[in-house]
Symmetry: C2
Amino acid sequence: MKKTPPGEFRSTLRVIQSDQCNHHSACESCSIRHVAMCNVLNEEEVNLLNEISSDFNRDSKQVLCAEGDPADYLFNVREGTVRLSKMLADGRRQITGFLFPGDFFGLACKDVYSYTAEAITPVETCRFQRRKITEKFRELPQLGERVFEMTTTELQSAHDQMLLLGRKSAREKLCSFLIYMADKTRTIGGYPPNHAYLPMSRADVADYLGLTVETVSRQFTKLAQEDLIRLDSAHNVILLDPESLQEMSEGE
Amino acid sequence: MKKTPPGEFRSTLRVIQSDQCNHHSACESCSIRHVAMCNVLNEEEVNLLNEISSDFNRDSKQVLCAEGDPADYLFNVREGTVRLSKMLADGRRQITGFLFPGDFFGLACKDVYSYTAEAITPVETCRFQRRKITEKFRELPQLGERVFEMTTTELQSAHDQMLLLGRKSAREKLCSFLIYMADKTRTIGGYPPNHAYLPMSRADVADYLGLTVETVSRQFTKLAQEDLIRLDSAHNVILLDPESLQEMSEGE
DNA sequence: CGCTTATTTGAGAGAAGTCAAGTACGGTGG
DNA sequence: CCACCGTACTTGACTTCTCTCAAATAAGCG
């Protein structure tokens, strides 16, 4: 579960949380270009970053990078939803994460990408040459620290997801997922409270939770029958009882 | 799966692989104290590190740090085996990783530890105050880069483990685990080739693979019956047909 | 509007879990 | 050194949750 627990931020690294960015007005390109980085950089530094980045936009269902490709680029999602996945020889797939505006990918690999990144919706990203961006870490240590901190957060989420995949029931998995997506929907904004917008297909949800499409669908139906959620459409869910869902997601 | 694929190392970060450490003879305290760090540091820098580190040794089954504790320390395992785990409210447990000499833990968290670390065998670690070690990243950027690179490798392993937990059968999971442990055993040294020394209990293996003890035990028996492995004892396994095991671990 | 694809629903099968019992191992004390 | 005890591991019988296969319904798109 990519659960980002709320609460005070007290990292020993000097970084600032995304929602604490306080120079949006002064830095227009920031919010447009480098969503996740602007928080720790001033306008001049963002411009420095703009020099080595280039837009990379793709339509829904297109591949941004493939498992095994030379890992030349680091990506920053600006708009849309991306899925990262790994496959077994016979085609079984595991989605290791969904990415939303502000998220990065392309760092956690050595010479080749260890996962495939695909656009779930039309996406806008900016892309840096890894070689160049890691050089920039020298000039802008706060940038390096911010990226390190994000990697660390991602590792924590990965551990949460391992607990989900290894030990939770189908029902608990789906509850966790709904809580997670409601949180993401809230962050992205533009939806009523307790709304979870699910841009991905049921198959994606299944491959994220280590289930089959049918099981996911059945669990959705069951939660709706119990009035814990309301399915406005397959991709728009209202959490009618977030507290219960939260509890069930943790096996209480 | 904490699979560290062999192959050339071409990270954009200027770090050196563990097995490329070439000043072991010149730096005695290095191999003794800071297993994973000495590779990128010279003797003087290692001494600098020694100043802020202190020994922290524990017997088998003791807790090194607990989920929810203030995350004050970063640990470097020098000797022995450690398990990291997370628990659900009702006691279901997921082991997110086993740690061996050279491994770190305690960084991937904000103010509190997000997992429990316990000694499987008697362990020797050295412990740094996170506050102090992150300060050191300023003075010794190559140290920061090395730690960042290790975090990145760990994130990749976490993704491999998600694929295992979400999509592999019990048999495939155990094959993956045996390949992984044979690799670790080789790295640690002192055992014949194709030997996998398993310091952890069957319950630990089960909680690592998202299975029950009984299922793990049955799969061990089945692999032995098929002459793919030989169980010298519950904790010492010979891989009789590593190629087949490897193939099966990837679902071929 | 018709076609394709996505989602839901149903029935049956199977892999892994649960519960229970037996066996082997390892440490401790006589 | 061996016997004993507790724990760890293995094995068996049975249950169950999730998967598989199949079909119906709904949604999206040209």
